[in-house]
Symmetry: C2
Subunit: 246 residues, 2 copies
DNA sequence: AAGTGGTCTAGACCACGAA
DNA sequence: TCGTGGTCTAGACCACTTA
């Protein structure tokens, strides 16, 4: 197949409801992962791309911006745009743990320990921005990878947003999406702790063992806090990857 | 001061060598931090902004994109652009630890334990992509906050890039910049460990205490790996903040 | 000198939110 | 309905790299 013909397959659909730059970004990412271009090879120039794909240069560039943000490509001023030599796919994006584990080749699972409605405790009032008499839906579960306990997860959601926690199935993420509560931004704190006696029994490690304690506050699109989660990870089953940019 | 006059102060300098959208982005960020607009207040609309500031809408938008990436603003389609209610400044950017500590009100310091040139060990060969007989400059230091030991940091740099580690002063970051070696991308792994006997003495904690172990691989603009760092943080002095977006 | 990415413009149309 | 953000275009000039 000639290079020109390969490119033609990436043409975005102008009649689709998804923006051109997103379509193009996804197609390009897929092409890169499929080995469409060799590592250290230059991609077609922006001017070539937009001519072949029938979009403006601004749009092509915006698609490439997506790839850049994901670390898939590197731009060199005056020289060209290149595939990032080392392909890793770290998590800067908001993904759910299940997806993440699947990508790493594990089979995720979970077991509910608690699904209750209760008065918000002091921390929940503070972090979720609730009044003293407000209620929260509180969830507690152990999460597994290949049937081995990997983490304990405790989540608190404002009662007003999630009044019936028993409706939540295996995936909190799926449930939130189904009731139009989409977490678009989160702030996570990561600390190290020694497993307490209670914790060590739940996640099946020795007391005192070092674990990762992840505290996460999630925000809806309108900026409202909607989720407070504490996760306690066995360090031998999980380490957290962050990608940084200048 | 009238709103219009306030906005005029944000006009970028067209003759400056820094791009308009960067100038504007910085000015807007500064204005937000200075309390120029109240939280939950809408910013001027994009069309107003670009008219008042004498730039195109695309440029104004690109400046706002910067603020969005930093979590300073929230856009609501059809409604307007708003200051993010809760102002936090988490670290998705590539900052050096010193800057970070200063922002949190600590006085950073460090004490060198080792600055040597040696043959790359197995891990360094692998992570830094070096041949078996290659040398590395190896640095080890304890880092302090308000004169209390906070972390142990071990860095390996390819000898070809940094041949004389004794030239590195207090700030590795400053040194790298001075020799035109700018880390623009890094991948960090975070895990929890129990302090070993040796480690516990260096950072002044009890043996077995939970610590954060951060492994960081830094890349230059051209994609070359140039830095491998292991940091061991006392969890009572540091917890890592990550901001996530959809 | 030719080609590349980096920036910028003026103007257009669409989809969404609020009055 | 009107103003907002979201997308898109065609064309321009600059700065940089490579040969």
């Amino acid at each position: 197949m000639l290079p020109q013909q390969k490119l033609l397959a990436l043409r975005p659909d102008a009649d689709s409801s998804t923006p051109l730059y997103l379509q193009l970004g996804h197609k390009l990412a897929a092409a890169i992962h499929a080995g469409f271009w060799l590592a250290d090879d230059p991609l077609p120039s922006e001017r070539n791309l937009c001519e072949m794909l029938g979009v403006s240069r601004v749009t092509a560039r915006k698609a490439l911006d997506l790839l850049l943000a994901d670390g898939l490509i590197i731009r060199r001023h005056g020289a060209g745009t290149y595939i990032t030599p080392k392909l890793e796919q770290p998590l800067n994006k908001l993904t759910n743990l299940s997806e993440m584990l699947k990508q790493r080749g594990f089979t995720p699972g979970s077991r509910w320990l608690k699904r209750e409605v209760a008065l918000a405790n002091a921390e929940e009032q503070l972090k979720l921005n609730l009044a003293a008499n407000c209620k929260v839906s509180r969830l507690q579960r152990v999460r597994t990878a290949n049937d081995v306990v990997m983490a304990l997860e405790e989540t608190a959601l404002p009662f007003l947003l999630v009044p019936d926690p028993s409706l939540i199935g295996d995936s909190l993420y799926e449930y939130m999406r189904s009731v139009r509560l989409s977490v678009v931004r989160a702030i996570q704190n990561i600390a190290a702790i020694n497993a307490t006696e209670a914790l060590s029994q739940l996640v099946d490690v020795a007391p005192g063992e070092a674990m990762l304690h992840l505290t996460r506050v999630g925000y809806l699109e309108n900026g409202v806090v909607c989720e407070l989660t504490h996760s306690y990870f066995r360090n031998d089953y999980y380490d957290f990857v962050v990608e940084l940019h200048k």
